[in-house]
Structures are given as C-alpha cells and as structure tokens.
Symmetry: C2
Subunit: 222 residues, 2 copies
C-alpha cells in the first residue's frame, strides 16, 4: 500500500497528489499538520514537513520535488518531464519558480494569513501581508500569460510538472477566491485546461474544515 | 565558451561552481549581484537571481538545482547523483534540506546580516538574527554528524551533490568564522574531506572585497 502524508494547506502536497493522480498511482492519504510534530512523523521526515510518501515497498520519500523526480524515474508510463534535456531544464526552472518564488511572494502570505488563520481560528488576517500576496499575484499571472502566448503549456508543447506545480499553488489561492482571473484571461484559459484533468477532481471536491471555497472553485467552466 | 553568472555571497552559485569543478568543466565566471537587476540580466533570468549558466551552445540555464540536474544529465563522466533510484532520492532530499532548511535557518540570517552588511557597508548586523543563525547551526552540524556516523558521505557510500550542497552553504558561514567546528568533530572531519578536493581550491583562494576570512578558512588541515 502506498501512503501519502499531506495537508490541505500545503501546495507541495497538492503537487504530489496531482502527480500521483496524473500517473494513475493508487494512494491512501493521511492528514498530517506541519505544526503537529509527533516523534513518529519526525522519524519519517526529520524536516517535519508534508508531503511524505511511503512506497508499497516501504521506501520513505520526503520533499515534494524529490518525490516527483522519484516517481518520474520509477513510473515512466505517464512522463511529466520532457525527454529532451533542455526541455527538462526549462520544466525544472519553472517548477522552482513556482515552488520558491510564487510560494514566497503569493502562496505563503495569502495561505498563512487567510486560510490558516480561518481554519485554526484566532487572530484576523494581517491586511499588509494579504495586500502583498494580492499585488504579487498579478506579475505571476502575467508571466503565465507570456508563456502560454508562446507555448501550449508552460514549459513547451506538452503538459509537464511545471503546469502541475503552478496549478497546485494557484488552486490553493483560488480556494480563497484571491486569483484575479478576469484580469488575466489567457492564464485563466490555461488553468481551465489543467483543472479539467481527472487528476484535479479529488482536490476540487475537497472542503477544508471551517472554510468554504467560492462557488467557481470546483466549476470546470467558470 | 561556458559562462557562469555568480556572486560570492550566493551559496547556490557556490554549489554550481563546485559541481563544474568536480566535473572538470571549464567556465568563465562573471560577477553578478542579485540586487543589481539590469535588463540584460533579467532577460537571461526573469527571477533576477544567480546562478545563471550559459552553455557553449548558447543554452541559458537558471536555478541552481536545475543547472545541477542538467549538468548531471549532460556530462555523465563524473556522476554526482548515485545510480540507484532510492539513493538518488536520498541525495535530492538532502540537497533540498540544505538549500531550503539550512538556507532559511542558518545561511540567510548570517550571510545577510554579517557578510552582506560588511561588504556593502552601512548598518551594523542585527544581533537577533545573528543569534538565530548561530543557534540553529548546531542542529544541522549534529545532523551531519548523525549521517556521517552511519555513512561515509552524507547520502551514502559515495560523495554526491548532497555533500557539495552542504559544503557550499557551510563554506560561506566558515568564511565569517561562524561554524563551531570544535563542538562537532565528526562534522569537521567530513568537511575537511570535501574541502580538500580540487574543486574547492578556487573558492578557498577567493577574497570577498572588504571582508577577510579567518585564518583557518583556506587551511586544509585546520
């Protein structure tokens, strides 16, 4: 049995869930909050973070990109990295762009201030951080537009891990209704395409306790 | 001609320089400050960060891990990722550990407060951040000890990209004399081994303008 430790609020866990779905690999999902660091979980991942994947043979894998590279090397039937070495580099560059730059400039400020605080209760969101995330997201949506005006998918002609990574982050921001889709119609067209894939369904059906998504969140034709 | 845009203060650029050295690939190095975002540099890397590598065929590569994976796939004579898929995953997990966790908890606080401020002049270091970095480094050196008590190198029997990544970060902290080597003799033994490799020589000879390293920095038998 394959087990994934994940959390709704982790874009990195979302990325791995989408990759497992795209590669049609069965998995049992276990909820694990990063802030609930049990000894048992720290023994699996000393970094104390989701996602952690336990393969059917018992192998424990940590760090989302490490997990994705492992799945890519092991389950080759549905490839998510292109074959050509320069195109693989372009895909990985964009994965790093969203996992580091988008994460820092958009996902982290908005998710920690709005989603996490709403879920856990307590202080109201700090409006300065919310403003930072809402301002920065425009640059990134403009970049997605720039890329998809030149290519079918973010890294080239085929859907890759770059699209999945970007969509994993955006799906979280979309859950709180903070993606200004109307200002970026090309980025929206790209997102509609990836959101319609079967791997996305479980994410769209999921409700984070205490926080209802906006109506369009699960709508494939929003 | 191969060109690398790098900066002394970037652990990520150091990592790529060490990989190029280990793989014996000639390169012309060009200094580029992250904070000096010329249009010309942004055209190479819209993220505005070093390292950026331009290959002899003109291919532009950004993001240190993307560059390392590219070099690994292209120049296979000196491999820095193991052959076995689980060992590759362990190597990448540790690369991510140092590039993200060590970077956030140790490299960033110490380098931005001490090295960057000393180099650029201006405000004195914020002692709170310096204390954060100096406290956190003990956990990481203890982790290196734990690993090297069980394995010859960080990720297993052979030297890999995990060792190079960890050493790239530590070499920067060592430059400001903030690695408490005497408290962690096993970690020191491991660092002496990697520091003695020819790929390390250019880094050890380099002097950051305005900041002299401690005496032991370039000493292979410190």
């Amino acid at each position: 049995m394959r087990i994934l430790y994940h959390h709704w609020l982790s874009p990195f866990a979302r990325k791995v869930r989408l990759v497992l779905g795209e590669k049609r690999l069965d998995v049992t999902e276990t909820l694990q909050a990063d802030w609930d660091r049990s000894d048992q979980f720290l023994a699996l991942n000393p970094a104390g973070e989701v996602p952690v994947l336990i393969e059917p043979n018992g192998l424990v894998l940590c760090d989302s990109q490490t997990i994705c590279e492992y799945l890519e090397e092991t389950y080759t039937e549905v490839p998510l990295l292109p074959r050509s070495v320069p195109e693989r580099a372009e895909t990985r560059r964009l994965v790093a762009w969203f996992d580091r730059k988008f994460q820092q400039e958009v996902t982290h400020p908005l998710v920690s201030e709005k989603l996490m605080k709403r879920m856990l209760g307590g202080d109201p969101p700090d409006s300065r951080w919310v403003r930072v995330g809402r301002t920065n997201i425009h640059t990134h949506l403009a970049y997605i537009t720039w890329l998809t005006e030149r290519r079918k998918w973010l890294a080239g002609g085929a859907m890759t891990l770059a699209d999945i990574t970007a969509a994993a982050h955006l799906s979280l921001i979309d859950y709180i209704g903070d993606v200004p889709w109307d200002d970026h119609p090309f980025a929206k067209d790209w997102y509609v395409r990836i959101k319609s894939r079967p791997c996305f369904r479980p994410l769209l059906k999921e409700v984070i306790p205490g926080v209802l998504p906006p109506k369009h969140y699960a709508d494939l034709d929003f």
